[in-house]
């Protein structure tokens, strides 16, 4: 069998950690090979070794059967290896052509040979049905198009091996479908593709074979056609995972949160980023705000939680107007908030776990007397929550938040917010960047809260999550609510059209 890339028995150690422990990856020519694993399983380390960013301690890399040493990304380029990063590396006020030739400029007498480049790019775009206009400015094209520019960039450099790092994280369902077909086209033209992901559905749809990593160790390579999703998930997590979120129908009662005609003005953009948004969340239901990133969800939530001032409108919590309350007063009035960015807002990374667990309640009689912190109470609180929410950390309550894994950091926040036992729980992308096990856990917690009679407001970019967890869905597009749906009735495809702005229901 002809392998274009072979990474044999790779071991890469960081001080104290074996990030890759005897990992083997063999890529056939013309196949789409998925690299599956939870966060921290060592996928990125392995790819960085291949891309010349790290040197392995043990093991060899072969390209087209020849053993090679890859010392830098430039070496990787020379061997025809290209990578589409999760965060695109594009200059926004440059055109597509300029971006693609950047760092690879062909010049004649010191002048750029744009015409040739443009022709070549147009031809490539045509061949792989990418539909990219080479003369367009990056800032004018959608995220999905930008990703295609990244793909073109690799093709322009004659890459034979394409690595996609979590390519679907930023795309709408329609864009995902198109990307899948592009990848298939690429493979059928003889390109070999490594797809890094933890989304099993995509693997099932597009990949030929799949290698699984778990905690730095190589678990195995399977043929995707003949392997069930459940089996792959089990290989990835190390135990059986249930995908179906079990929940009973919601029984909404009284209205907890009411948002009326809320607008948020952005001074830098000099426009409303949230426009006349109205909705309500009842006790005992999960309302989900769906939408593609950057359509005003962040600002809307910040306005509700008090981190940002609305320019117009009213926020009512339990029939009490909280529009102009401070964050603290909102917290006391009954708002819990699992923030979008756990490092920016959710945690003080240099504080210990126990300190982070009292960040909104340190002044409470329970934790404070005469201005002094009750360290025993703080410790007891942490020990209880660690037990109850199964938070895992190196040194228990005194572990520094910085040293914890992303999933456990999120658990700290979830534990803290749920434990505050407020009427309204706002969760913004609570499963972002988490692995399957942690996602499952957090979904269960959200539903448990709903069943306990809380109002839950969920903001999510993941359609699967939106469909599985919520009782009611509203879709936001460019700061406006463009539709409201029942997850039992609506299809993912339909939602996708609304999220992309190509459909809207008149309110």
């Amino acid at each position: 069998m002809e392998y274009i890339i072979e990474m044999l028995n790779i071991t890469k150690e960081f001080p104290g950690i074996k990030a890759n422990d005897n990992v083997t990856l063999q890529l056939k020519k013309g196949e789409i090979h998925a690299l599956l694993g939870e966060n921290g399983a060592g996928k990125s380390t392995l790819m960085s070794v291949l891309f010349g960013l790290y040197r392995q301690e043990e093991g060899i890399i072969k390209v087209r059967g020849e053993e090679v040493v890859i010392d830098s990304p430039n070496d990787a380029n020379d061997y025809g290896i290209g990578m589409v990063h999760q965060h695109f590396k594009l200059v926004h006020n440059f055109s597509v052509v300029e971006n693609i030739v950047l760092g690879f400029e062909d010049t004649q007498y010191g002048f750029m040979k744009y015409e040739e480049a443009t022709e070549k790019i147009a031809a490539l775009s045509e061949k792989y049905k990418l539909k990219v206009n080479p003369k367009e400015l990056i800032s004018n094209i959608s995220v999905g198009m930008q990703q295609r520019v990244e793909i073109l960039k690799m093709l322009y450099r004659d890459a034979e091996i394409l690595i996609f790092d979590e390519p679907t994280a930023v795309l709408t369902p329609q864009e995902i479908t198109e990307l899948m077909s592009i990848m298939k086209d690429l493979a059928s033209e003889g390109k070999s593709i490594i797809l890094i992901t933890h989304k099993l559905k995509e693997i099932k749809e597009v990949a030929d074979r799949c290698s699984v990593l778990r905690k730095g160790k190589y678990i195995g390579t399977v043929d995707v056609k003949t392997t069930s999703v459940e089996k792959m998930a089990e290989m990835m997590v190390g135990r059986e995972v249930s995908f179906v979120v079990n929940k009973v129908d919601s029984k909404p009662t009284n209205t907890v949160l009411e948002v009326n005609d809320l607008s948020v003005y952005n001074h830098r953009l000099a426009k409303d980023v949230v426009t006349d948004v109205s909705f309500e969340v009842k006790a005992g239901e999960i309302l989900c705000i769906a939408g593609i990133e950057g359509n005003g969800q962040t600002q809307l939530i910040e306005a509700i939680t008090g981190l940002r001032n609305p320019s117009k409108g009213k926020i009512v919590l339990n029939s009490e107007d909280i529009t102009h309350c401070t964050v603290r007063n909102r917290n006391l009035a009954g708002v819990s908030h699992i923030p979008e960015d756990r490092h920016k807002h959710g945690l003080v990374l240099d504080y210990s776990l126990e300190q982070n667990l009292i960040i909104q309640t340190y002044f409470d009689k329970k934790f404070q007397s005469r201005g002094f912190i009750k360290f025993d109470a703080m410790r007891d609180n942490a020990v209880t929550l660690i037990e109850k929410f199964d938070i895992r950390s190196g040194k228990g309550a005194t572990t520094s938040a910085r040293s914890m894994s992303g999933g456990n950091q999120q658990k700290v926040i979830v534990a803290r917010e749920i434990d505050r036992d407020t009427d309204l729980l706002i969760a913004v992308q609570p499963t972002r960047g988490l692995d399957v096990g942690a996602i499952e856990y957090i979904h269960k917690q959200l539903i448990a809260q709903r069943d306990a009679g809380k109002a839950v407001l969920l903001v999510s970019l993941e359609l699967e999550e939106v469909m599985n967890v919520s009782d009611r869905i509203i879709v936001m597009y460019e700061g406006e609510v463009v539709g409201e749906f029942d997850p039992k009735v609506v299809t993912e495809n339909e939602l996708g059209l609304y999220m992309a702005g190509s459909k809207r229901s008149d309110q």
């Binding site: 960081f14 104290g16 950690i17 964050v327 807002h345």
Partner: protein
Amino acid sequence: MVEKIKNYFITNYLGISTGFSLFLFIFIIPQLFEDSDLIISLIRGIIFSIVVGYLVYKFLLFRRNNPNFVPSESKLVVDAGGSLVAIIVGLLFGLLLMLLVNPGQAFYGFSIILRGGLNRNFKSLGDMIFFSVPIILTGLSVAFAFRTGLFNIGATGQLTMGAFVAVFIGVEWGALGEIHPLLHWGTALLFAMIAGGLFGAIPGLLKAYRNVNEVVASIMLNYVAMYLNTMLIVAYIYNRDYARALDIEETAITPIMNLDLIFPGSAINGGIVVAVIVVIILHIILNKTTFGYELKAVGFNRNASKYAGMNSKRNIVYAMMISGAVAGLAGGLMFLVAGKHLKPENILIPEGFTGIAISLLGLSSPIGVLLAGLFYGSLQQGGYYLQLLNFTPEIIDIIIAVIIYASALGLVLQKFVKMILKRKFLEKEDGEPQDLAVEGSDE
């Protein structure tokens, strides 16, 4: 059981013997060559040795009780290790410079610098403490603000305002001294703190409510303080014949608090007691109170503190105020000394800037700053006695500056220390492998 007794004996024995050998080294041996009062130095030595012995004993006890202690996991060990390595690097730089300037006496000179505050036993030790008090306090001032995420480069100005107010009260409010001497001194210090605090609050307010960068604001205020000081001295407490402020009343002079019994012949006064009290208070504020919890949260992550509902604006003002008050206190203690005078000179008082380096070296923790300040004082004494050799004072100043500078810079080496420790204690490592790779490639 036998093992237990043996362990206990070894622990104690080592503690005692370390204390005793230090005692011999520092107190007895020099006495054999100098004809001073053996009894007094004996008593001093015994007290000192007991303290050192006790500390060693405690350390060994800790090691015995925590056999699984992993140094690389302890922030304290890693940080302190970084500071130590930094100091060693700084000292080596100093040695290098000395070898360049005067190779014949470099090593002897270096030993004088290392002996620092011990060059003349308790006399120089007392001097070292005396001169480090303002440095410790300005270091604390900078460190406290820094814990709240603010860079108070205005300690000099706050110190100047504190100094002026203290001297003014020292000169003019003699009536207080007639009621009780401590009342006069205490009032002068109190108002020095208030003056420094108010002066520190200005950049705090500007930062909190107008988002003016505190570095810019406090630098400019340094100059305001400097010129204001000149103007006010000339207007109110000017000694025309000597072009300086008038002498303060005797009652405003910082009391010695009998410290001269321990440190005879030195310049020491009660300032160190005040400084230690401030260290303890700040340590408690930062580590034990809800106020300190808030301040640190604001310092570590302003966004998260906002999210948690803390009033970060108010905290910024308070932090700058406390920082300024401590700097003002430094100014008061600096000039409430007999034979020392505030001058209407247009020079920024350097102690405020030295405080920045000391705060860095002390890792912005009150106790660390105390140690770093004493270290600075010790270097200063070493440099002072180095004058007995063929080094000009300017070169000595450069050597001291290089040591401090390299030390503060060398904190970069902290990571290095952590790495070494981790290598050594590899098997204790737990936790998951981290996804460093893609972060790196994202650069």
